[in-house]
């Protein structure tokens, strides 16, 4: 079961010397007969950017939604530091009939932000949406909607942010801006765990890669380490496919 909201006392020193802000302990999830997650354990430290990669149906979204508290695990526990966990689901979770600012204001109020106006202004500024603040979300492009989605995940200034395929609906320019924004977050101490289908993004932005397949955590290490294990030094995508093949998966 999820052991929620454990205080900073639960945090420990990570491998790189940063404070541990998130720990998953033997997380498992079953949907009837199907095992979606099988005893997945890992931890994340402040400022760390971790990529969660794996084929379709590997259990990436299930893992992220359990870490976010949107789903209950069948067994295992999630331990997080005192700061809230920010969550950016794969599908934008927004009210399309409200404006960008109204969406931010609502969630800031529900999160009991100390100063709602400041929190909304900060997120509009950080996500570059100030010009679109009074536009209804339903009228925004997919990219801008995703930016609002990310902004909502970051409203409470979480110590960990979980992003489920954040760049999937974006064009290359928007993708670039999003990653710059996320990298800046990490540089300020936020731990970032993101899932992606674009393996090159994992190589480019993540310090650590978690490879998940059929609910099992197959690899936890640096992108370079993964390439080395697969025996592909050049092309990371080829290295990832070779790794899965080598593990007898695909």
């Amino acid at each position: 079961m999820r052991a929620s909201g454990t205080t900073s006392g639960a945090a420990s020193e990570g491998a790189a010397g940063s404070a541990e802000v998130l720990r998953a302990e033997r997380l498992a999830k079953r949907y009837g007969e199907r095992q979606a997650l099988a005893e997945v354990s890992f931890s994340a430290c402040a400022s760390e950017m971790i990529a969660l990669v794996g084929p379709n149906g590997a259990g990436k979204t299930t893992l992220l939604s359990i870490l976010a508290g949107a789903q209950l695990p069948s067994s295992g526990a999630v331990r997080a530091s005192a700061g809230a966990i920010g969550w950016v689901p794969q599908q934008p979770a927004l009210y399309s009939k409200l404006t960008v600012a109204e969406n931010l204001r609502l969630f800031a109020r529900l999160a009991r932000a100390p100063d709602v106006r400041v929190a909304v202004a900060r997120m509009l500024e950080q996500t570059g949406l100030a010009q679109r603040a009074d536009d209804r979300v339903g009228s925004l492009s997919g990219g801008n909607r995703q930016r609002v989605n990310v902004a909502l995940g970051l409203l409470s200034s979480p110590s960990v942010v979980l992003l489920d395929e954040p760049s999937s609906a974006l064009d290359p320019g928007q993708r670039e801006r999003l990653w710059a924004f996320i990298a800046e977050l990490a540089s300020k101490g936020t731990a970032v765990l993101f899932s992606t289908h674009i393996v090159s993004e994992a190589e480019r932005y993540a310090q650590r890669v978690l490879v998940l397949d059929e609910g099992e955590l197959l690899f936890d290490g640096s992108p370079r380490g993964l390439a080395a294990q697969a025996g592909h030094a050049g092309d990371f995508e080829a290295a990832f496919v070779a790794y899965l093949r080598g593990a007898g998966r695909r």
Binding site: A70, L72, A93
Partner: protein
Amino acid sequence: MRWLLAKDLLILRRSRLLVALLVLYPIAIALLIGFAISRGPSAPRVAIVDETAPGQSFTLGGKRVGLAEYTDELFRQVHVVRVPTRAAASEKVSSGDVIAAVVIPPDIVQKISSGVSQAQVEVIYNGDALQQSFVRSTIDSALAQANLALSEQITDVAVRDLDLLLAGGSLQALGSGQNIVGLSHISPALKDVARRQSSASDRATLVRIAGFASFAAQNLGVAKNVLTTVSAPIRAKSTLLAGKRTPLDTYAVVVAVSISLMFVCVLLAAGGIALEREENTMARLTRGPPALVSREGLLAAKTTLAAGSSFLVAIAMLLGISTFVPLDLSRIGLWVLAVAFGALAFGALGIAIGALAWEVRAASLLAFLLSLPLAFLALVPSGSVAHGLYDVISAISFVFPFKAALQALDAAVNGSSPSIAISVAHLLGLTFLFGALGRLGLRRAQ
């Protein structure tokens, strides 16, 4: 919860089509009910083909009855459209200009006068099952009225003739100029004659005949009473066991308001919950701990919005209809009570539906599919279907809020039975039941 409620109100305000429907639907229902009740039903148009010769009459017990008297009675309840031929009548029925045609054959007078064969009129009609049923019941009712009027005339003639036979008098009414001795006078006269007879056997014979005459006179007297009661053999004396006698028009108001309350409330609550799923915001709101909004808080917010909106709609409807139909405005406190508890129960049903469905369209469809038969079943009167089937219908109606809401509002508006306290307690129970089901539905989604 208040921020969630404010957000839902803002979204509702921006959903113009939905708001228009929520406002227009009850107004349309209220106007329809109001007009339908306040304006009496117009007589149906019926084509008449009279193939008899003008001024024909028939004799009943020596009294001449004009055919027009009979047909006037027959057509009193309809708007008569006279047509010359059967073909023309059929055409009018086919075109829908009249709902039916009645053909009076030329031999109807002979048939009635014969006293042996039954006279017959032909009814031509068309349309679907409902229209056919309406025509049959209208014509049957008209025929029953006409036959009753005719039988009363026959009874009058028969009673007059019996009086003559009993009391005696001139036979002119029966077509003879003679004066006859009444049956009741024969026995005393015979006894008087018998006393003067010397022969004992003649005396005994006369006394026996006098006894028979007395017996016959007594029984004909009874027959007179029988004839006067036979034209209307049964009269009803009605006793209402509980509550007040409810006029049909105010009951129709209660039904219309209950249906509107149910639709508005169930659709809003179900749509509200399903919208959170459709926008993917449900998980964002309720994930945790700590959750931004507890699941119970989310359900309460949706129920409050739906119940509040439908409450306003229902009360506005009642006040609007009261300009057409006289409703007792001094009972408005009870209206508020009944509508409020009904709205809560419908809101709870709505959130249970919304929690089951995954998106707004499915929730709306499910809400409609469930609400319509519930309203229909709750209006099925006992005794109109087989006993076992009625038990099933009652059980279904008991576990859904429509019937309880209808009874609560009927008690509030008309003071009918069961009492409003019983119905309100029932609605409260259903609110908790469906609230729990809604909560269970959200848990399942997680």
